[in-house]
Symmetry: C2
Subunit: 186 residues, 2 copies
DNA sequence: CGTGACATGTAACGCGTTACATGATTAA
DNA sequence: TTAATCATGTAACGCGTTACATGTCACG
């Protein structure tokens, strides 16, 4: 049981999902491809933390819908209360900033601008997810459980939004610093 | 040549360093242990991007001081102008936030508080690094090269500072949200 | 007629962490 | 005397990415 395994359990507490849906749904939380996820689902099923139901489909490939078991919920519960390890950030840009003086000022600016545009599109994506989450609550947010899972998603998405905004602010500031240190002609 | 290899080259453009010093110095930029770094130094030396000088010491173990070569600088230069891959963030807290409703409100708050305290200590560490960087410039910041490398470090450290501040703000906000949704007795 | 979504899996390889290995000096 | 700093290396294992593998339907 590694971190990703617990993450899959976390997603399954909200509702039953297929491996394919888990692969899509985990994207804003953790970077993982389907080739990592399918084997973990198999091993968690052997451990009794999840179980699956096979759905035969004629138009699309058959699928397996995974549901978390009572045992799965209780191991997740124990894990959640354990202190969280420090976040690990791996960003090439750190090294590129460090050696920025090796490039032309124009190229340095372009580097930051590309990152800023990517961050802006990510921010937009998170805002859409927040709206979808709120809509879910408005439509059928009656049970205590749905309110609770929606709240968790809300916290998480706000975390991502705040980080993205900070990153965009950094890019804007750094581009300004670059222009101050080598003003463009004109 | 992976990202970490270019990162080591980046550090070596500022001044010659030992593998040990590189292991320490890379910490704010990338997570990597010495067992990753020593083999990369050997392979980069075979490629001709760096070279080393052995220093014999009587009180401490002997050391190897690595210097970047002209060829090393030129491959780094080419790499820096390439677009930076999106940053990868791996944070257990994402999953724990998502399943926060499985814990007692007190434990949920403690989870966020621990992270906030860690972030605050990181912020302090970065502020010290910024001061050290500025001091370096004041003391002997005459050459154009030193000014340039100091500038790169400055940008990078500001990036980390802004990210940490955003993360601290998130924790404060999230603790507030938790208190609002389940007020403490009294 | 090709691309993308749906859907699940395995294999190979590279990257990252932990542990093993050695050994002197210095401060608590 | 125990831990920490300096200093370099290897080995084993686990995690993450890319590629291989298969097949249908819908849309442009």
């Amino acid at each position: 049981m590694n971190t990703l395994s617990y993450g899959l359990l976390a997603l399954l507490t909200a509702n039953p999902l297929t491996g394919y849906e888990l692969t899509q749904g985990i994207k804003p939380l953790w970077r993982a491809g389907h080739s990592q996820i399918y084997p973990l689902l198999q091993s968690m099923e052997e451990k009794g933390f999840i179980r699956h139901e096979r759905i035969e489909q004629s138009d699309k490939p058959d699928k397996k819908i995974y549901t978390i078991t009572e045992e799965g919920i209780s191991v997740l519960q124990e894990w959640v209360r354990l202190p969280a390890e420090p976040a690990v950030l791996r960003d090439e840009l750190h090294f590129k900033l460090y050696s920025l003086w090796l490039t032309e000022p124009d190229e340095a600016k372009a580097l930051l601008q590309r990152r800023m545009e990517f961050n802006r599109s990510e921010l937009q994506r998170y805002n859409l997810l927040i709206k979808a989450n709120e809509a879910l609550l408005d439509e059928r947010g009656e049970t205590r459980e749905l309110k609770a899972t929606t709240f968790g998603r809300y916290l998480l998405l706000q975390k991502r939004v705040m980080a993205m905004k900070a990153s965009i602010e950094f890019c804007e500031w750094a581009i300004g610093e670059l222009e101050r240190s080598s003003p463009p002609p004109g």
